[in-house]
């Protein structure tokens, strides 16, 4: 009886692992490695890589610059509407990407809510690189915000209070105490958001389209190459798998680096 149960567990484990790994393995086995590398050098792939890196970098800069203070605010201050705001952050996580795409179009499209105002000032958002950036921010920022709020909340409030009584204003307290102590968690959230943003597909294809060299990111290029150059599609897939694995490993390793905080500031002397 007991042996039978152990066997059942072993079979279930093998099935689960096999199901998860087989498609990834197939990606690397389908095409010879040499072909994979040469396909990565093709125009289509190189264009998509540039678009992906550019838009991801800009989107990520915005997520960090705006998301970090927002997360600190939500983690340390009590104000009316705070719960609602925290709830709203989770919304993009459960929203179908297609809905995110159509919603962004409804807001920023030429006939959207803000579209008229934007075009009056000479801005077009939909089907431009700006749209790619906005789509990535929309779907990826919750990954950073959730982790950043948790990281700031785990900083002992007494440490922030101590900094204030030692003459540090709110900004210096944030910069010298909250930020360095939350840094390992922020780095994890940042990595997850970057990974999610790099793989963004649904909202981007609806809101920004798939124009080669302009709005066609790596995931969109996979879709675009499916019926033209299947090997190239496979090569991009393999590349994205490698990036994902690298990020996953980094996230797993980060907590053990927490003593070597990347946000160490030289202590400043107050006069």
């Amino acid at each position: 009886m007991r042996r039978g149960f152990d066997l059942l567990l072993a079979v279930a484990g093998t099935l689960a692992l096999g199901f998860l790994l087989l498609p990834l393995l197939a990606l690397f086995l389908r095409v010879p490695p040499g072909t994979l590398v040469s396909e990565l050098g093709s125009r289509v792939v190189r264009d998509a890589l540039v678009v992906s890196l550019e838009t991801s970098a800009i989107a990520h800069a915005f997520i960090l610059a705006v998301g970090t203070p927002v997360a600190y605010l939500l983690a340390t201050k009590r104000f009316p509407g705070r719960e609602a705001l925290i709830g709203a952050i989770d919304l993009p996580l459960v929203l179908p990407p297609a809905v995110a795409g159509i919603a962004l179009l409804a807001a920023f499209g030429s006939r959207g809510l803000l579209g008229g105002t934007l075009s009056a000032f000479g801005f077009t958002v939909a089907f431009t690189q700006t749209a790619v950036v906005l789509a990535v921010i929309f779907v990826a920022s919750p990954f950073y915000l959730r982790q950043a709020i948790a990281s700031f909340q785990s900083v002992d409030p007494d440490l922030l209070a101590a900094a204030r009584t030692l003459g540090a204003g709110p900004l210096r307290t944030f910069r010298r105490v909250a930020l360095p102590l939350a840094a390992p968690g922020l780095a994890v959230g940042s990595s997850l958001a970057f990974a999610r943003g790099l793989g963004e597909f649904g909202a981007t294809i609806m809101f920004a389209g798939s124009l080669r060299g302009y709005t066609q990111t790596l995931p969109l290029a996979i879709y675009g190459q499916l019926d033209q150059d299947f090997d190239a599609a496979i090569a991009i897939g393999a590349l994205l798998v490698l990036v994902s694995v690298a990020i996953l490993v980094a996230v797993k390793l980060l907590p053990s680096w927490s003593s070597i905080s990347p946000f160490r500031f030289a202590p400043s002397r107050s006069s």
Partner: protein, 340 residues
């Protein structure tokens, strides 16, 4: 420092009026009495609903004048109960964080110069306390605030740190307000002691004043007295007779009537095998329930009383747990504290 403030807490309000000079003042009270809240209000971390806080000629808070300086503009050195050292900074960086000048003096005076490059997590409890004190001191504050300065230390360390801290506070010469739940700590460190209960200061005075004239039963219990409860009645001979809840009758020279508490200090109780022919009017028969040696003294629990006798006396009487004994005290040693 002058305080007059009200801070609403969950089930009561902290209401306190206090004036301190260049001294060490200790506030004692049970946990939840509002002690930490008071320190936080002075430091500007908690906003009082009304009142005034001023120190060294500066007004930090005045609800009527609309003054409420943020913590960074109040010159306080607040030492948190668990020290709140910055874990990502070295000892020296911690001390330098709020320092107004070079930190070498602060490190030297607290004897932590050798630990300058160490991170807080590698320090012992006593060392952490010194770093926290150095950090507060380096800020050159007008007032030093200590929250339960000895509570985070292991019992064996406390006695040593207590006397070290007493010397240090005297040497630093800063007006100091400390809060503690331990009366012994308060007496050891401060010249004046205030007793805080449910947000109110029930008594403020020297340890001797608290001992000889406790304002309430809580203060009497705090300073180590035995408390007996019963009904008092005036006798014709001028004494007050108190019938305790267990039926024992006790005489006191104090006046009182109705439900009262009687205070008897442990050192005013003598122990014997039989009720002796002495001047004591009160005799409580019981068995020895506990013997605790405290240096050259022994604390003996007999029924509702705790007596303190010399170790030599305890030896001579051959006191043993479970054996019958008579505890005696004079009518002058039984103080009536009024209603319970």
């Amino acid at each position: 420092m002058e305080l007059d403030l009200t801070v609403p807490l969950r089930s009561f309000a902290l209401e306190l009026s206090l004036e301190t000079g260049a001294e060490t003042l200790a506030l004692v009270g049970p946990s939840g009495a509002g002690k930490t809240t008071l320190l936080r209000a002075i430091a500007g971390l908690v906003r009082p609903s009304r009142g005034r806080i001023s120190a060294g000629g500066e007004t930090w808070f005045d609800s009527e004048a609309g003054i409420d300086l943020p913590p960074e503009e109040r010159s306080v050195g607040l030492v948190f109960q668990d020290y709140a050292l910055f874990p990502h900074l070295s000892v020296e960086e911690n001390v330098r964080f709020g320092a107004r000048g070079p930190v070498e003096d602060a490190l030297e005076r607290l004897g932590i110069g050798a630990l300058a490059g160490t991170r807080p997590r590698e320090l012992s409890g006593g060392e952490r306390q010194r770093v926290a004190l150095a950090r507060a001191f380096a800020r050159e504050p007008k007032v030093l605030l200590l929250d339960e300065p000895l509570a985070a230390l292991d019992a064996p360390m406390r006695t040593g740190v207590r006397s070290y801290l007493r010397g240090l506070l005297r040497e630093l010469g800063l007006p100091t307000l400390l809060v503690t739940h331990d009366y012994a700590d308060a007496v050891a460190l401060a010249g004046r002691v205030g007793v805080l209960v449910d947000g109110r200061l029930v008594q403020l005075g020297t340890p001797k004043e608290l001992l000889t004239a406790p304002a309430t039963t809580f203060v009497a219990d705090l300073v180590g007295g035995n408390l007996l409860f019963g009904r008092a009645e005036r006798r014709e001979d001028g004494l007050t007779e108190v019938e305790l809840d267990d039926g024992t009758r006790v005489l006191s020279t104090d006046e009182g009537s109705g439900d009262v508490a009687l205070l008897v200090y442990p050192w005013e109780i003598t122990l014997a095998h039989t009720a002796g022919d002495d001047s004591s009017r009160n005799h409580v028969h019981g068995t020895v329930e506990e013997l605790v040696a405290l240096g050259n003294r022994v604390r003996v629990r007999v029924g509702p009383l705790t007596a303190e006798v010399t170790a030599a006396s305890a030896e001579r009487l051959g006191l043993r747990v479970g054996e019958p004994v008579v505890a005696s005290f004079k009518a002058t040693g039984a103080r009536v504290l009024g209603s319970r």
